[in-house]
């Protein structure tokens, strides 16, 4: 599994949703459940952190394909 801190919000959120679904299905060993639970908790924390720290970045695409920051 990938390092949670490297995950984009989208990926972390999707994985969190998937984990909840998987736990709901109930076809897991206790050990697997515990591992998923712990990862899920860390994913939700990561998502919250990303939202808290987010700052809109705006750039302009030039004709030659460069991105110039605008803010």
């Amino acid at each position: 599994m990938s390092d949670i801190n490297e995950l984009s919000f989208e990926d972390a959120y999707a994985e969190l949703e998937a984990i909840v679904l998987k736990l709901e299905s109930g076809e897991l060993s206790l050990e697997e459940s515990v591992a998923l639970f712990e990862r899920g908790r860390r994913l939700s924390e990561h998502c919250q952190t990303l939202l808290d720290q987010a700052e809109l970045r705006v750039s302009r695409l030039t004709d030659d394909g460069r991105l110039e920051p605008m803010n």
């Binding site: 984009s8 919000f9 989208e10 959120y13 969190l16 949703e17 984990i19 909840v20 736990l23 709901e24 109930g26 897991l28 206790l30 459940s33 515990v34 639970f37 899920g40 908790r41 939700s44 998502c47 919250q48 990303l50 939202l51 987010a54 700052e55 809109l56 970045r57 705006v58 750039s59 302009r60 695409l61 004709d63 394909g65 991105l67 605008m70």
Partner: protein
């Protein structure tokens, strides 16, 4: 006396005739503007005339403010509204809600022609529309860098989903050069930027101002966009060809930005919900594992060999005690036999017989038992054993013995 009406009654009667006439309540009138007056209240008063007639017109402030076209005296216009009676002055007038320059008719025809053509080609088909991603990482914006629309978009994105990166591909949004420039901007985006969704936006303006978004080249280029396109051109009431081709149409630039993004507050909420779900699931999982363990423990006790061992052990005990009993019986039997033999033995003991008065006779010289008269001849010494001792005797012949007896008595 003749029946008569008051002026008010008559005027009210005429007013109702106008009000009940569908043609008068929803009518387009073409003519030329004159006597244009913009009152301080914001209402517009003017006269619409042609070569042979005129009609007074009013446009209330609420409608006047929404007009993208500002009419001036002498303008040929098409006015929409309802004709009603103004009782105070006893006049009828056109209460206008829309004014368009007449020249615009050509543009409308062009719009309808292009719309029908592209629709026939299937460019507006619902199956062509691509889904808008839930969490766009990069949002492309195609508009003018200085436009209010771009600021509006940024404000909405900053508020709703600041996780996104915004890439502006700038272009002209009005004028003859605009269609080609918009196409270049889309192309630039396709070639150089990995965007998840494109917002094609422009603020409100007159029909001519928005015309670039009714251009066939622009329409086709929207179809070529690698990322799904949300259009947000003009105001809510403005529909452009770009809106029909876009994967999603937003009534305004701000709404386009909203449709492209989740709301951060909703996100926080749903993350909290997921987190709660997670904890509840884990708790119930632990409980159910605990229950399963209990059940298993009970089943285990059920199938345990312990019971069988106990049964077997009991059986062994049974067998043991039976064996013991059998042995005891056997011993008892032997005991009985033994005592019977002992009795018999006792009975056979010659000493016992002696007690009853019998005697055993031995020859004294050789100790042999005298069992028959032939065993001892007269003169032989005998030992007669009695139960309490021995007598010594000598065998006599019959005659001398008899004599002796007589002699004695």
């Amino acid at each position: 006396m003749l029946a008569s009406y008051s002026v008010a009654e008559l005027t009210a009667y005429i007013r109702d005739l106008f009000a009940l006439d569908d043609n008068l309540q929803d009518v387009w009138v073409s003519g030329e503007i004159s006597n244009m007056t913009r009152a301080a209240s914001g209402h517009w008063y003017f006269t619409l005339k042609d070569s042979s007639a005129q009609i007074k017109c009013v446009m209330w402030r609420s409608n006047a403010e929404r007009q993208t076209f500002t009419p001036a005296n002498g303008d040929a216009v098409l006015v929409h509204g309802a004709v009603n009676v103004y009782e105070v002055q006893g006049v009828y007038q056109l209460y206008a809600d829309l004014i368009r320059p007449t020249g615009i008719g050509d543009l409308y025809a062009e719009f309808e022609r292009l719309k029908a053509k592209l629709e026939a080609e299937g460019l507006f088909d619902a199956e062509r529309k691509r889904p808008i991603p839930k969490f766009p990482r990069v949002i492309g914006v195609i508009t003018s860098a200085d436009a209010a629309a771009f600021r509006d978009v940024q404000n909405v994105l900053r508020r709703r989903f600041p996780l996104a990166k915004v890439v502006l591909s700038p272009c002209l949004v009005q004028g003859d050069e605009a269609p080609a420039d918009i196409c270049r901007a889309i192309e630039r985006m396709n070639r150089h930027a990995e965007v998840d969704v494109v917002l094609l936006v422009r603020g409100g303006g007159s029909l001519e101002d928005l015309w670039a978004f009714n251009d066939e080249r622009v329409a086709r280029m929207i179809c070529e966009s690698r990322a799904p396109v949300i259009s947000g051109v003009g105001h809510e009431t403005d529909f452009t060809i770009a809106d029909f081709v876009a994967d999603l149409r937003a009534p305004t630039p701000s709404v386009a930005a909203e449709l492209a993004t989740p709301n951060i507050d909703d996100l926080r909420h749903s993350i909290r919900t997921l987190d709660t779900d997670l904890q509840q699931l884990m708790a119930s999982r632990l409980v159910s594992h605990g229950d399963a363990l209990d059940t298993m423990r009970r089943s285990l006790r059920h199938v345990s060999p312990e019971a069988r061992v106990r049964t077997l052990r009991q059986r062994i005990d049974d067998l043991n005690s039976r064996a013991l009993a059998a042995e005891r019986n056997r011993l008892a039997l032997w005991g009985e036999r033994l005592s019977a033999r002992t009795l018999a033995l006792h009975a056979a003991n010659p000493r016992g017989i002696l007690k009853r008065g019998y005697a055993i006779v031995y020859r004294s010289d050789d100790g042999r038992q005298v069992a028959s008269v032939s065993d001892a001849s007269p003169g032989v010494g005998l030992t007669i054993q009695l139960h309490d001792g021995e007598l010594k005797a000598r065998v006599e012949d019959k005659d001398s013995h008899e004599r002796y007896k007589r002699t004695l008595f």
